[in-house]
Structure formats: structure tokens, C-alpha cells
Amino acid sequence: MNNFMVLLKGEFQRLIKYNIVQVGFGVSVLWVLVLFLIGRDQAADFVPLFIFMDAALMTILLIGAGLFYERQENTLKSLMITPSKMGHIIASKLVSAVYIALQSALFIGLLAYFFFDATVNFAYLLPFTLLIALSHAIIGYTIAVLVEDFPTLLATLMLYMIVFAFPSIFYALDLFGGLWEIVLVVSPTHASFLLIDFAFGHDVSTTLIVVSALYLLLLAFLLARYVVFPKYIEKAVRE
């Protein structure tokens, strides 16, 4: 088995042992319960929002908190002194975070399709969820490698949500005010939201979809290349 596969297998083993898969699933179940409470009539409108929250916001939190937790256990140091490549170490963690998001999207998407008469195009939903989770995992890393400690991480995540996520949520709920328009243009969360919306058959122009997808890809690449990679070792090693 090559090192990447060993790392990946290890990540999945830990997703289960550290109860992350279980918690992720629990959150999905929670969303579904909320959908039932909202009632059949309006539930379909909320499905994209919930999937988006899972794929974007949960992923940032998972990756950010995960890095700090591993730093505390000193296991990253132990990984750094193996012949594994840096890229493989980071990639294995990204894949496992993406997996969690896909699992939720699929679960919520299927239930929405069968119970709430939502129009879901899975051929769009899954790749878009992948892209959203991947880019947000990298955003999560970016925040985690730039802050000093866990409380600052949490504060920064809150700030990130206020600046980027809430406008999209207000927008989704038609509470959108012109004030946010500027932020929405460069908000990765908003780009994500458009993609999910599209997968649920909402009317979004093809140009906007292509631009959003490319924007997320480019952002992910740039952050990974110029922030996460150079800073990761330094962050992993410090006590």
C-alpha cells in the first residue's frame, strides 16, 4: 500500500474512532427532523440551505478544530517524521472532510427527494458538494494556520460566518438587503450557495454557475498553495 492510501485509511479509521462520522450523521438527522417540523409545504425551500451549512460551515469547523486537536495530541509531529509527503498528509485530511460532507448531502438530498418532493439533480449536487467541501476545508485550514490559539480560531470562524455566511442565509430566506451585495460578490459561501441552489433546480444562470465553480476552485488552489502549504509544518510542530 502506498503512503497516501495508508494515510487515508488512518484518517477514516479516526473519523470513526473519534466519533466524527457519527456526529456528522447525527447533525444530518437533526436537519431532517427540523425539515419535518417545518412541514412539507416549505421544507423543500430549506433543504439547499441545510446542505450548504453542512458542506461549507461544518467543514470549516471540522478542519479547523481538527488541526488544533491533533496539535494538542502531538500526532502531527509524529506524522511529520515519517517518509510521507506533506501533500499526501494534507490531501488525506481533505478527502476525509469531503467525505463527511458528501455523506450528509447524500442523506439529506435523498430524504428531500423522497419525502419533501424536492427537485434534486444528484449529478450536480454531489460534485458541487465536493467542490464546496474541498474549498471550505482549505478555508478552514487557512484560518487554522493563521491564528495562534483555539479561542482565536473560534472567534475568527464566528467573524467569517457573520461576514460571509449570514448574508447568504438572509438571501436564501429573502431577507436580503442591498447592503450585502458587495460582500456577496466575493463570498465563497455565496458562490457555494448558488451551486447548491442550482442543484435543487432553482433558477441560476449558467454563467453564474461556471463563475462560482471556477472561483471556488481558484480560491482553493491559491489558499492551499500560498498559505496552507507553507504554514502547515510550522503550525503542526509548535507546541
Partner: protein
Amino acid sequence: MDDVFRVEDLRFTYKKNGVEAVRGITFSIRKGEIFGLLGPSGAGKSTTQKILTRLLKNYTGTIEYLGKDLKSYDNTFYEKVGVGFELPVHFSKLTGMENMLFFQKLYKKNADVEALLKRVGLYEDKDRKVGEYSKGMKMRLNFVRALLNDPQFLFLDEVTNGLDPKNALIVKDMIREFKEEGGTVLLSTHLMNDVEELCDRIAFISGGEIREISTPRDLKIKYGRRELAVEYYENSATKLETFDLDELGENDKFLDIVQNRTIETMHSGETSLDDIFIKVTGEKVHE
């Protein structure tokens, strides 16, 4: 040239707080020896180890490993190197065995994990979560972790820290065997005992500088208290008297005690880290 590591004028400053932890140290580690870095807390031992294991990169000075610049190596460097950290480095929710198997698969060459676990007395507990291990158990697992890839060079940072005497003995035996089989070791410690029992040569480090490179024996002779403490029985009480080792044979009081009293114990002065530290720097160790 049989140097495994050649370190010249190595300096390192932690960016975060501006602490210059290593201040221009020069030394080399010969193939097949156990080289000790001895020094008080905060001396820069762990920092030096982290630099040599390539975990800290922004150093100045030169480090050569097997005749080539350390910076010229890629991560295959770690195939033949084992690293024992001063703090536990395991996934707490995985068992000891799960931890070892995961890390081991990342190397091409593999040691016999079960045999290693048996040797350090962890085999019975191999299926318990590491989070439930005691400190000494975690440190023993750290030691096994360092040996997973059957390395040729071993870095050990405070390897006997938290071990009871029996387990410390086992670990020291294993280090000696590692050397006998041709391995080379860098051992960082603040324990005079470890150094005396294991090291061929030592560098005494404090304040980020090497004060002296020597053998344990020379260090002891140079800095040890040349004195003898004698406890003897007199007038139904135990008395303690300390004598200078020099010209002991002409010391009347000593000869009188040896000839006419019941001696209970006799100890020559043991060199402690404190003694060396005070003599080298003129200060006391704050530990």
C-alpha cells in the same frame, strides 16, 4: 570520515517570542556512538533535536547528515531515522497497537512491533486506548514508536522521563543493544545517570550554547566533588563526616574512623548536573 552528523555554528530563534534557543553550537556525532546532549531545562536540547529532525527549518549554520547538507534530503530521510519525542505523540482514542500499526505502515522497513511491545512491557495493554495509559506507558510507547522502522539513527529526547527504575533499565538496555548492532544515537537528557550509563561522549549545553564536549568519565573527574562521605557509629549514634579524596590515606581522622569505628556507609561524591552547571556557569540551576 565517520561522522553521521556534523553541526557547525547552528543558531535558531523562535519567531513567535524571539527567544534565541540555540546560539551557535558546533559538534559532530560519530557513527556507532551514543552522543548525549546534557543540560538543564530550557537549555535548548529539544530545540536542537527538532532542528536535526528537520521539524524546525529556519536555522542558520550548517548541518551535514552523512556528508550531505541536511536541507538537500527529501522525506526519505526518515526511512532510516527514528525519533523519540519528550511528550506523548499518539492518537488517544486509538489503542496502542492501532497507533503503532498506523505509523509503521508509513515506512518501507518494519521492526517486529509485538516483540517491541513485549520487551517494554506493553503487550498486555496493547488493545487499550492510549488515552487510558499512564504517563510511563505513553513514554514507553513513544520509545517503541521511535523503533518502528528499525532505524539506523535514533533521536531520543528525555527517553527515561516518567519511567520507573525497572522500565528505565529495560529501555537503557535496549538503547545499548541498538548501539551494539551498529546504530547511532543522539540522547538528550538532564539526568546525569542516563548519560553516565549510556553515552560515549557528551556535550554539556546551557543557555543555548555548548559549554563543553567530553566523555562522561572526564566530565565526572573534572566537575565531580572529589570527596568521600562516611557514616559511622560512635557513642550509640550515627555520625557523618566528609573527607577530601586527595591524600585520603594521610588523613588521620579518616584512618582513625576506618580502623576503630563501625562504618555504616561510604559514598564518594556523585557528580550531579547541579555541580557541573555551577562550575561551568557560576550559577545555580533553576529547575
